[in-house]
Symmetry: D2
Subunit: 311 residues, 4 copies
C-alpha cells in the first residue's frame, strides 16, 4: 500500500529531484504539491513545479500557490545556487521535456493543505507532509487550522542542522529564511502531537549521484529520468564536482525507506533572538543532563527525530 | 454616509464597550466581527461577542472564530482584569439582557476577513479594520492573503505605547501577547501600503466614564446602554476608582471622529528580541535625527499615525 | 562643608562645562578627574580635560587616563556634535586661555578611582562619583575593586532616558556607547548598595543658557568664565539655536542642589539584547503593577533615582 | 628551555590536575596563578589553589585573588560536579598532603597579571596565558591594560565548544558562566593580535586517566602524585566511570605538546543575545562560504585555533 504524501516546495533544483521521486515512486501516493517563496519567488516556484510534474506525467496532481514571502524576514532568492529560473537554467527544449500544461489550483496552498488533510482525516487516512522549503505555508496552516493535525501522520522536513549551518555559520538556509515559521511549526507539532523528522544538513550532503550516473539518466527515454539526469549534471557543472547531492530528495527517500536513516529523538529549539545564531536549530545532544537546571526558561523544546546518518 | 468597519476582538470588558459603540453608532457600518484569543480563550471570546451583539440588537452581524493562541507565545488570559468569563462576571439575568441567540459563522476569522475585504474591493469600497486584541488573526490574514489590502482603507488598532507599557515596563498587553503577529502586521502594512493608526497606552487611559455616568446608563431601557453602564461600573468597582477608561472603545471613537485625536506620523518597530523589551513598540520620537547613522540595520520601520493625545 | 566629588568624563563640550562648574564651585571639592573614550578618543579627552582644568586654574586636580574603548562595542567618537577636537574646535589663543601645563597621572583611571575611594573610606569620607561619559571605567572599577563601594556616597551619572533616546530611537548616547558597562554599573550598584541617580535625556535638554548670556560670559576676565561662554556659544552656532543645553553640567548641578531636581525611585534595566532597543534604559514607570507576574526573569532591576524634571 | 606560563583558575577538580601538571612539568615555568569565581567562590578557589601548589612543593608561585563574580551573570558554583569545597571534598589528612602555608599575593589578579606580563615584555619574553575558568579576570585585564599584549605569546583557554555544550545544549560552562567576559577576550585578542587556542568540549572529554592508573598514582610517595591520583579517583567514583577526563589539564598538555592536538584556524563568535544560545561559541566550520553575504553585521569574529581532536 502506498504512502499518501504532500510536498511543500520552493522548486529549486533539489526540490525538482524530490518531486520527480515522489511523483514516480510506486510506494508513494502524491496527493498535492504546495508552493512557497524560497529558492525562487513563489510564481517561479509554481511554474517550475508544474514543469517538473509535467515531465513526470503527473498533470493530475493539484499544485497550489502559497506564501510569497517569509513571516518577517524579507524574501531572498538563492539564485547563486539555483540559477535565474530557480531550476538551473536548463534548456527544456533540448531535453525534449513536455510543456507544463497543468493549471494551478485556485485555492491558496494553506487551503489546499487544509482540504486534503481534513478529507484524509474523514476517511481515516493519515498523510505524511514533506516540507522542502521555508516553513511559511506550514506555519500559517497549523496556526490557522490546527484541526488538520488529525489528518497528519507526520512531518518530514528538510531543514536545520545539529552541527554546522550553511546560510550562516549556525543556520541552515530553509530555517534561516523564515525562522519564525520554523519555530511556529515545531511548537505547533509539540502542542498538536504531530511526529516530526528533521532531515537536515547533518545528512543532506551525504546522499549523492555521480556525474557518470547523471549521464546514464540523460540517455533514458522517459522525460522524468532525463530531467533528473539534467538536474544532477547541472549541479556537478555548477560546483565543479564529480557528484551532486540529491538534497531535498533525500527527505522523500526517508519517507519511502525510514530504515535507511539513523535518527535520534532529541530536543530541538529554533533560536530567533541570537545575534549570530538566529535561525539555528538548537539540538540538545548532551549525554549527561545534570546541568538541565541551567537551561533557559521559555517556550519548551520539541522532541524531533533528528537524522544523524544515512546508510 | 457611514464608515464600513470590521472589529477584531478578544472580548474583554473594553472590547464589549467598543462593540456596543460600533454596533449602535449611526456613522459606522459594522460589517463583521472576528474573534481571537487574548483577554479570554477564543471560545469564550466568541460567546461574549455574540452576547454583546445580542444586547445591541445586531444578530445580523457575522461573527467568526479565529486563532486560539498567539503565533509563538503561549496563550495567557487576563482574568485578573476581565474576570473569569472575560466580561466582568456580570449577572446577565439581573441586567435583563437578551439571550445570545446568534450563530457563529462557519468560516475561520481569516476567511471571513478575506471574503469581506475582497467583496469590498470588488464593489469599490474600503473597509476600516479595527483590531482591539492581539494581532494574530490579522497577521495570518495579511501573510496568507495580502491581496486583501485593496479592500482596506486603514487599520486602527488598540495596542502599543510610545512611552510606558502595562504588561511589562516596556510592552503593552496586546502587543506583548503576540509580538511576532504585531511585527508581521506592521511590516505587511508598510509593504502593502495600508495606513495604520496606533491607539496605544499614551491615550488609552485618558478617555473615561464616571461611576455616576455609569449609574445613569444603567437606568436606561435599551439593553445595549444598560450593558455599557454595567461594564463601566464593573471596572470602577474592580479597581476602586471613581471612573473607568472606555479603553478599546476609544479606538472606535477615533474612527468616528478622527479630529478628536492628535496623532503624529512616526517610525515604529516592534521589538522581538529584547530581554526586557520584547513586545515594546519602539516609537521614534527624536526631533533631531542626526544620529540616524547609529540606527540598527534590519527590517525597516513602519510609519504609523501614533495617537499622542485626545481632546 | 564642600562635597567631595570625582568626575569621569569624555570631554566633550558639555563635559567641559561640567568640569568648569565642578572645579570652581565653592560647595564642591573636586578630588580627581578620570577620562574615558566616548565623545572623543581617550587621549584627546585627557588633553581636553587638562586644558579645561588649566582654564579653571586647577592644576592641582589629578587627571588619569582610562579605557580607550567600550567593553564590546567599537569606539565611536561623536565628532558631528563635539567637533574634531571634541571641544568645539575653539580658537584657544583668541580666547586667551592658559596653556594646559598639567601632567596626566601615571595611574590608570581605575587605579586613581580605587586609591581615592579607599582613602576616603579610610578617613570616614564618602565621595560622590559623577560619570558624564560611557561607563566603561566605572564598570571595570566596580568589578575589579568592589570594596571601593565603602568610599562612595552615591553615583550621579549623565545617561539614559525614561522616554526617548538620541543615539537611537530608544537609547541615549552614553549608555548606547557601552551598554554592557552600563548594565554592569547598575547591577554592581544594586549588589553593593550604592545609591544611584540617573540624570538622563528626560531633563538633559531642559537646563539651558542663552546666546546672550554666553556673550556676557565671554566678556568676563576669568578664563574659566570666558571658556564657558565660548562653549555655550559654539553650541548655539553649531545647532543654530538661541540657547544651548548645559548638558552634563546639569548632573553637577544636581549634586550641588539636589532640591532643584525632581526624581523618583524607579526600577531600571539596561537592555542589551534588543534588535532595536540595545542600550535602552528600561525604566518601569507603571503605576499599577498587577502585571508584574508577566515580567521577564533574569538579572533583577536596580532601583535608581530617575530625574524626571528640573526646576 | 621551559615555556613561561600563567594559569587563571577556578580550582575545581580539573584545575587542580592542571595546576599539578604546570607546577611540576620540567618544560613549563609556572610564573603565577590567578584565581576567579567559577566552580567555587573565589576565596575557596584561592584556598584550593594554595593547597594544590603546596602539594606540588611550589610555595614560590605567586597566587592572586581576582574577580568574585562574572561581569553580568550571577555567580553560580558547580558543587554538583566539584563538591562542597570545589575540590572533591577529599580527606587531605589521609592523603598526607602538606599544609597550604602559602600566602595570597596582596595584588589583585588583574594587577599580578599586568605586572608579570609587562615585566616579561621588558625582558623580551612572551608568556603563555592559560585560562581554565570563566574569563572575567582576563576580560578586566585586557580592557584595563591592553598594553600587556606585548608580553603575551598566546592564550590557550579551556572553554567553548564547536559542537555540543554542557551547561546548556549550546554553551560550555566556562563561557556560559561569563559570556560577556568571553566575548571581550576574543574581541580584544583580535584587536591586540594575540593568538588564541580554544581547548573546548570537542576534545575535553577525550583525554582520560583510568581508575587503575589513579590507584597507581595514589601509591606514589610524592604528594603531588598522590593528590593527582585522588582527584582522578574522586571523579571516577562521583560519576561511576572506569576513567576520568583530565579536563583542564589537557589545555596545559596542549602548551607542552602542541603537536598532540589537531587544531584549525576558524572564525569564532560568542553569542550573547540568544534565548537558547547565550554563551555558545559560534564556530564557523562551513567548507563553502558562498553564503557569507548572509552573515550578520556587527562585531567581527576572531580567528581562533580550535582544538578538534587529540592524539
Ligand atoms: Ca527546497
Ligand atoms: Ca481587547
Ligand atoms: Ca560627556
Ligand atoms: Ca576550571
Amino acid at each position: 500500500m502506498s504512502i499518501p504524501v504532500i510536498l511543500d516546495v520552493d522548486t529549486g533544483l533539489d526540490d525538482a529531484c524530490a518531486l520527480l521521486l515522489a511523483a514516480r515512486h510506486p510506494d508513494l501516493d502524491l496527493r498535492a504539491v504546495t508552493c512557497v517563496a524560497g529558492n525562487a519567488d513563489v510564481d517561479q516556484v509554481v511554474r517550475n513545479t508544474l514543469l517538473v510534474l509535467a515531465a513526470a506525467g503527473r498533470h493530475d496532481v493539484a499544485v497550489a500557490r502559497g506564501a510569497s514571502r517569509p513571516l518577517l524576514e524579507p524574501a531572498r532568492a538563492a539564485r547563486h545556487v539555483h540559477g535565474e529560473d530557480g531550476l538551473g537554467d536548463l534548456d527544456h527544449a533540448a531535453l525534449g521535456l513536455p510543456a507544463a500544461t497543468g493549471e494551478v489550483d485556485q485555492r491558496h496552498a494553506v487551503e489546499l493543505l487544509r482540504d486534503e488533510l481534513l478529507a484524509a482525516a474523514s476517511s481515516g487516512e493519515r498523510i505524511t507532509l514533506v516540507p522542502l522549503a521555508p516553513l511559511t505555508n506550514i506555519a500559517l496552516l497549523l496556526r490557522t487550522y490546527p484541526e488538520v493535525a488529525k489528518g497528519l501522520r507526520r512531518i518530514v522536513f528538510m531543514g536545520g542542522a545539529a552541527a554546522v549551518g550553511n546560510a550562516t555559520a549556525a543556520a541552515e538556509f530553509n530555517i534561516w529564511h523564515d525562522p519564525e515559521a520554523a519555530a511556529v511549526v515545531l511548537d505547533a507539532a509539540r502542542e498538536l502531537e504531530i511526529p516530526v523528522t528533521m532531515y537536515g544538513l547533518d545528512v543532506f550532503y551525504d546522499v549523492r549521484v555521480s556525474r557518470d550516473e547523471a549521464v546514464e539518466l540523460l540517455a533514458v527515454a522517459a522525460p522524468a529520468t532525463r530531467l533528473a539526469g539534467a538536474l544532477v549534471q547541472a549541479q556537478c557543472v555548477k560546483f565543479g564536482t564529480p557528484s551532486a547531492t540529491i538534497g531535498d530528495a533525500g527527505a522523500v527517500c526517508a519517507v519511502v525507506d525510514p530504515a535507511g536513516l539513523t535518527t535520534s529523538p532529541l530536543a530541538v529549539h529554533v533560536e530567533l533572538a541570537g545575534a549570530r545564531t538566529r535561525g539555528q536549530t538548537v539540538v540538545d545532544r548532551r549525554e549527561w543532563v545534570g546541568d538541565l537546571d541551567h537551561d533557559p526558561h521559555g517556550i519548551p523544546p520539541t522532541v524531533v527525530d533528528v537524522a544523524l546518518a544515512v546508510d
